[in-house]
């Protein structure tokens, strides 16, 4: 049963990922990317990372995708949909990607503990690397919260500073020229509307 769901989710994720890069229409690409993220969240649930699955759907498939769709529709990218495909670059990309997958596959073949599955919980204690998995912890949100505010409290605070810097940076980048009306202020959406009016 687990294998069935794994294959459903991973094949769906890879098909949606291919649709992202092969679609001519940028809006369709963005929607396929959202579905890729949803399938990845399903894989997170299978890995019993429930909190991260929820965060992934909320942040990436929700907020980030809304930003992408907003910009795509704002910039009106329909003009390039009928440009010819670059066969040479597609070939190059395919060669590089296949080389990467081949290298990773060869590495995985020799990875110690790589064949550990979630069902065999009995592992020899002499194996220090990735062995069989520990039992599922249903309160992963609780544990991640405790980790965030004890061990990782300094990175957590620095991340909040980073988000503040990013917000200010976005406002500065999207600011109108000085000749325009000075009434624009700190919200992100009105700034991006200014590109429409040009």
């Amino acid at each position: 049963m687990e294998a069935f769901f794994f294959w459903i989710f991973s094949i769906g994720m890879i098909v949606c990922g291919l649709a992202v890069i092969l679609n001519r229409n940028a809006v369709a690409s963005a929607l396929c990317f959202a579905f890729t993220i949803v399938f990845m969240s399903a894989l997170f649930v299978m890995l019993s990372a429930f909190f991260l699955a929820a965060v992934q759907i909320l942040v990436t498939a929700g907020a980030v995708m809304v930003l992408f769709l907003f910009i795509i529709m704002l910039l009106d990218l329909t003009a390039m949909e009928h440009a010819p495909r670059q066969k040479l670059w597609m070939g190059c990309a395919l060669v590089v990607a296949l080389g990467f997958v081949f290298t990773v596959a060869r590495t995985l073949y020799t990875l110690p503990g790589g064949t550990a599955s979630l069902t065999n919980t009995v592992t020899p204690s002499s194996v220090p690397s990735f062995g069989a998995a520990t039992p599922v912890t249903p309160d992963d949100t609780h544990q991640i919260g405790k980790l965030l505010f004890s061990t990782y409290v300094a990175p957590f605070e620095i991340t909040s500073l980073l988000i503040l810097v990013a917000t200010i940076g976005v406002i500065v980048l999207c600011k109108e020229e000085p000749r325009s009306a000075p009434g624009k202020e700190a919200s992100r959406e009105p700034k991006k509307e200014t590109a429409l009016t040009r």
């Binding site: 294998a3 794994f6 991973s10 990922g17 992202v20 890069i21 940028a26 690409s29 963005a30 890729t36 990845m40 894989l43 997170f44 890995l47 990372a49 909190f51 991260l52 992934q56 942040v59 990436t60 980030v64 930003l67 992408f68 910009i71 795509i72 910039l75 990218l77 390039m80 670059w89 190059c92 990309a93 590089v96 990607a97 990467f100 997958v101 990773v104 995985l108 990875l111 790589g114 064949t115 550990a116 599955s117 990735f130 062995g131 998995a133 520990t134 912890t137 992963d140 991640i144 980790l147 061990t151 990175p155 991340t159 990013a166 976005v170 980048l173 999207c174 992100r188 700034k191 590109a195």
Partner: protein, 103 residues
Amino acid sequence: MEITLNHYLAVAATLFAIGMMGVIMRRNLLIIYMSLEMMLQAANLTLVAFSRFNPRGHLDGQVFVFFVITVAAAEVAVGLALIVALYRVRQTTQVQDLNTLKF
């Protein structure tokens, strides 16, 4: 057939390779940016899988993924603002039109 750690790593590597293909072969700046995001998410899947299969049951990998998601969201906001600012100046989002620094 049992699902092992290698399965998850292989799927993540495939998704990463797809994102890399997108970065190399697409000309639209927004699609390239989306492919970059996809590569980040593939790395996230790897981290969560390693964290789950860790025999000591640590959740540090998941905390790291949490930070990556947060930073990626901030990065998307800044990157899209850059693309909008670029579009205002050059009226394009195609990378072949951005050849000011080309030798």
